[in-house]
Symmetry: D2
Subunit: 472 residues, 4 copies
């Protein structure tokens, strides 16, 4: 998939009860780098004071020995924010750290609040000022407005007013609270390291620091980590889980366990199912690396067509790339991927990718594979057509830009100039994830948004998702 | 809360009604660099949207062609913040830019609010959250809490709750408001450039952009700059001006007109008065450059003793300086100043400085001049003994650290190992500035603080003044 | 002299006859980034003057729009230098640019000269001074000492004194010369782009700029590119090619054509041969990504055991990584690779890698796979045991550090704690590359160095290889 | 060759026999920053190996704790290079460090060799290659070509072939050699620090590290500092000293002792002489700060007209300055200096500067002072008209650009729009420096170049002086 397509996914990581909390958080953010490269930050506490280091760029570019040394304490939370192409917006970088009536408070958030605009308007009407443009800041204001004495109670009160997707870490000088919204849109897991605890967006962060994976934080669960140990609360009315199926399809790291599935294995299974649904007479199955690899493996396995690496990825690609002004064009995908002519020539090729967003990248890939001499190019997508934007934290383009929202599969195939094109069926998808259609949010494929706020003008909402990109 | 929060001397600069508002603001901040080198920033508006560039460091280090190009519009405000020795605190850099119920809002502030702690506590009690540790943020909250429809009314309402020193610039998408507190502690002047207007901390900023100096903003005056032109308001009950006499003695640039005085000429007059009050039998009068130059000129003129530059300043001194670990010591002042042995040898020397804070630098200077061969060293200070910390925006050490707070002039002289020491008298100071004791704040010399908040525990307040050190 | 001087694997790229020569060179270096990340540089010429931009770091970090804009002309050469762990040595970064009697001269070199020490000593004895510690500078001195009028003649004269490995680009204001040493140790290919020509270490650089691959520069061939077109010379006595077989096994990018082979296909064939020679009763074949992927694919194909991605690579790993001081250890390989527990558990696993150097990384990988629950771990290496250091430009450790130089396969297997270990046989390797043992240098597996200089004390030479470590 | 190659005014600093040699050198370079801000560097030795840190920018920007920590040893030399406006040329930054037949060698040079072009051409004809475009590299080649066994002998041999201005520091692993050319164009002094020795361009460097000033290195003297102590040689035939009088007039720091004079006192004396020669009926004498201060003090003293600071300098001016595109113009001098209207208004003003080069800055100053209300502006220059470019190391414009080369004093006065203009007479200048015309080079005022090389086409030489501009 074109990695520029889906913006605004993030990572959170928290550690409680370890003398090197900030360093472990740094390591976890390192392992979670794929969930956001725009900005990164850590807030740590030693029981008395919160200290922050938040900045633009990647974890290992921003954090230095000195910066980590300035974050002592047994308690820390961290955040990676997804990369956008716009100008830097340091003021939106997380964790957010503020002072309020009961001391200091820091927050790190993965997700998107659907009623943030209304809450923000209300808060502003009551005199609140906002220094960031993130929905996350709303939660801080709600906490600060609570009359509750304890942070955990104030947070619950705040979250009862909030609707949307959130895997959230909140800390003060002494406590760490981890919450996952009632629908559980975004993942969040709990691990143990010695006598300390770790919460992270994905289990790969636990693996790196050799923490033991205990379990997922459940949808609607709030974990309170303090000197008293870990306490679990379920402060929200029970509701049906709506876990983001796209985490399994594309977003999570393949070595993570997400929503009870090994991501790599799910993706392989999607590929196998795709092969059953949409076979192709071909000589070789190649993935769009790296995200398409597992599905291509599954497709190859099921179809019996040999798997191979026909597209080579240049992993040194950075943020900036200077194109020549003349003579050479369309570097978009070429700078990242190159087709291996030697064995594509004369072949009938199945190309497996996880999804198609705008279609422009896929079109270039088909062209590139054909240029490499392929006789036929059969595109296979290991998810259903993406017809609707995500409202819950994955930065998708507007409906107008989603090619599957305005074109049939046949039309898309013609646009891509592929010999054939097939998507995985919605039923096939649900079968693989062993879902009766009740555990996952598949709104991006169906438009059945599990959470819709009455006042919300969808067109407005959609347009909000289109341009500057993001709320947090 | 950081103890450095409430004590920064700073510069403000604003432009209304010029197509290159941000660039003119940049130039003004350049001219006002002496008022703060820690951070700098500009917020500009084009009638629709506010854009900010705020960062650590000096004006010409932080601002690039690209950054200025990102600040279009006819309206801009800027700020330089005073350099402290602590770690960088980008979140306190100004102008602060926030969103609130009526749109966006930016503020730049020179001064110090004496009831900020109480107001902050109250605001927090009502649920406000603070992202900076500056007193300035309080004003934004108060504006946001106002029910007034127009910004100018909301600001007036806010300022009626605030006590302390402020020369303030506030802007939204279309309007610029400049206010000086009723006592007029900090300077603020108004200029004209073509059909546009300029407000700045000092007139030297006007000179650089060739704006015409119109007049000072009066103590207690609020100027509203909008499409309707400039409107003047006096929204506060009249009170006695308490203009900071230290601006004239040390802080302002000598080529500025401040409080109706040319700074250079006032300083020369202070030196003349000092010569009358405390003559010395000497061969040469030398200044501590650069700030002591005008007073030394005046002293020399009045006394008839030749003026000369006996201390040479290295203007390339930067923020960081690496001292050798052994063998060489006490670089403090040497890296900045060197005594010119050639003509100090055998001479009786009068050294003129504007003030003594802790006494450590003066002691090193006396030693350095003696090492250069001077037969006698007579220290003359062109202001009275600094016995009390400033509560209104100049960063002074605690009383305990002010040498004149705990030692007599004779004791200080002994500490400095000078042959004689004399300060300007309080009466002499007032005579020079043509004041009957009613136009200026001289609390740092007398302890007669014009503004004192009942609940305010002075010791607490004083301890807040402790961390940094250099007056400035 | 720095011991890192003579051992860099690198990339070269040159363009002649294109108005955007420097930009194309930049793109080529981008595609060749895998051959060196320490420093990068480009020298360009417009017929009159040579201009250089050379600096530390990666291509897309160092080169900016401004830097490229400062390199006009139709002629350019570029270089990527291999990353070493020592301190930065900008003075060794290439291309080297010098002035000499006939104007200016720039050179970019991939390889290693075995008689550089002697030549340097001779040159110094005659009064030459050296500003870098690279062997490459020797060639410049030899050119400058030549009496030949034309650059091409002077270069030939210089190279007749030089022994070793070199794929070399030399340019002056108007001409570009590309040479490959008589043995052809390092690759070099020729492409065409419009009416211009391109020379590059690997064909993947041609692909990116859509140049047409014409052919390899032959061992011992010198190409002279000038206004007169391309001229080919064979100025050296014919000798047996000794092309570096390690380029095929590990170094080159899989989508390149090197020495007449598609690299990816060769590596797959090595894997197939390995499967024939050293089968394993196993449930899954996994590669050490990314370099082990093709061989693992081949092994799986031949053995019929399913291929899968059991180790996940974090591609965001940067140069610096801050390890925790306590509690967590052995991050070496973990920060880069993570084992996917979900499907390794209970499995008999074949792990395929391209080579083993010191054995420490392999040992950690075996441990990691076992920790992930694998029942058996069978290590398969798609090349013979690496028993001797490379003298021709690949940065290998000393013999003492090469585990296969001092331990038998059984001993290595025990050290790795693998259930079995097998290397590809030397015969198998040669069979795959269709060599009767006469076209390739396999000295690293056999110690049969094709080029040995009498005076050369091998122990000295070997100790020179000691500092760095990673084969490259 | 770059036209900026042969024209740098610079600083050199060396330390022998102190355990913190590099740190002391750093401090000395700090004190000598006024002699060059383009690049800086230090090479240090510990008896075995030379290590270098050389980079662009100022001393306290480039040198960090880490960089200094990488320069251990008892022996070090350092260099500051003059700032030019061209692009960065790191390869010309000094000290230059090379390897040659007898080990390593580093050199730092202040001055300009007039026969460098010929020597370079000869060396190139014999096969030498040049990596910098500085004349200094020539000396290294000549040393390397010498058959002498000892460095000191090789250096003497090299310098016997060289003509021009040089204050030179050369070091190897164990020895430091300081030489001043037979004419002694540039200054160089010797100091003692404990049991170690210091050599520096000016004595202000000694003052900072509290080294005792012993004496100047004499014209034509070579000092050899080694374990054996300090040895003095006079290896050149005796000749008449030609010390650069411009060091006294402008270049050196006022607190330095140069050529047996205290710089500040000489400048004051020049001002007094100027007052005698060219009195003016005026109300105030003001300097162009900072360089014009001493002469203005002298002028005021002699004339009895009061001295004052009528132009205020902004010391925060950096390298880059962004001018507005429209509305405001001619920032050139305004960004640096502002006229103090308050006391210039209505006054007859004498403005004292040290020299006029192109006249453009002076013209703007006269305009600025008049704008500030001055009734009359009398320009007084404390040196004779600068009619000829310097061939010996001060970066002056070509003759064509020197206003005094093509216009009479009356014409210049008219151009400046001053009420009167007077320069110091040549005789007056020599009287002040107590010279019978035989100790100083005054070629810039007379065109009597003490050193002229027959083959040297003067026009060519002059054109080489053209690019930069600011005398320095």
């Amino acid at each position: 998939m074109d990695s520029d397509a889906f913006h605004d996914q993030c990572a959170v990581m928290g550690v409680f009860g370890h003398p090197e909390a900030a360093k472990l958080t740094y390591l976890g953010l390192y392992a979670l780098q794929h969930r956001g490269q725009e900005s990164t930050g850590i807030v740590a506490a030693d029981g008395k004071r919160l200290r922050a280091e938040v900045g633009m760029g990647r974890v290992n570019d921003f954090f230095t020995q000195e910066r980590l040394a300035g974050l002592p304490g047994f308690l820390a939370i961290g955040h990676n924010r997804y990369s956008t192409t716009g100008d830097s917006c340091l003021r939106n970088a997380q964790p957010l750290l503020v002072d309020y009536s009961r001391g200091s408070l820091a927050i790190a958030h993965n997700g998107n609040l659907v009623n943030a605009h209304r809450l923000r308007a209300e808060l502003e009407a009551y005199g609140s000022i906002f220094r960031s443009t993130t929905d996350t800041e709303v939660i801080l204001h709600l906490i600060a407005h609570s009359r509750a004495r304890r942070l955990v109670d104030a947070l619950i009160e705040a979250l009862q007013q909030v609707q949307g997707a959130y895997s959230l870490l909140v800390m003060n000088e002494r406590e760490l609270i981890a919450v996952r919204d009632p629908h559980g849109f975004r993942p969040l897991c709990l691990g143990q390291l010695g006598s300390g605890y770790v919460v992270a967006s994905e289990t790969c962060a636990l693996d790196l620091i050799e923490a033991v994976y205990l379990r997922d934080v459940a949808p609607g669960e709030l974990l309170h980590l303090s000197e008293a140990g870990v306490q679990s609360f379920f402060p929200f009315p029970p509701t049906r889980p709506q876990q983001c199926i796209f985490e399994l399809i594309y977003f999570a790291r393949p070595d993570s366990e997400v929503f009870g599935h090994n991501v790599h294995l799910v993706r392989k299974a999607l590929g196998r199912q795709l092969a059953r649904e949409a076979p192709a007479a071909a000589d070789v199955v190649i993935p769009v690396p790296d995200s398409g690899v597992p599905a291509a493996l599954g497709y190859a396995e099921e179809s019996g067509i040999p798997f191979d690496m026909g597209l080579i990825r240049n992993h040194y690609v950075g943020r900036t790339f200077i194109e020549p002004q003349q003579s050479i064009r369309h570097f978009g995908v070429k700078i990242k991927l190159n087709a291996n002519k030697a064995f594509l020539a004369g072949k009938r090729v199945v190309v497996v990718d996880d999804s198609i967003v705008r279609g422009t990248t896929s079109k270039k890939l088909v062209h590139m594979i054909r240029q490499a001499g392929a006789k036929e190019v059969h595109m296979r997508i290991s998810s259903p057509p993406t017809t609707h934007p995500c409202l819950y934290g994955i930065d998708t383009p507007t409906r107008q830009e989603l090619i599957a929202a305005r074109a049939s599969v046949a039309e898309i195939c013609a646009y891509l100039q592929a010999d054939s094109l097939a998507y995985l069926s919605h039923e096939g998808l649900l079968r693989v994830v062993r879902d009766d259609g009740r555990r996952y949010c598949t709104a991006c494929f169906t438009g059945n948004y599990p959470l819709r706020v009455p006042w919300q003008d969808e067109l407005l909402q959609l347009s909000l998702f289109g341009q500057e990109g993001r709320h947090g």
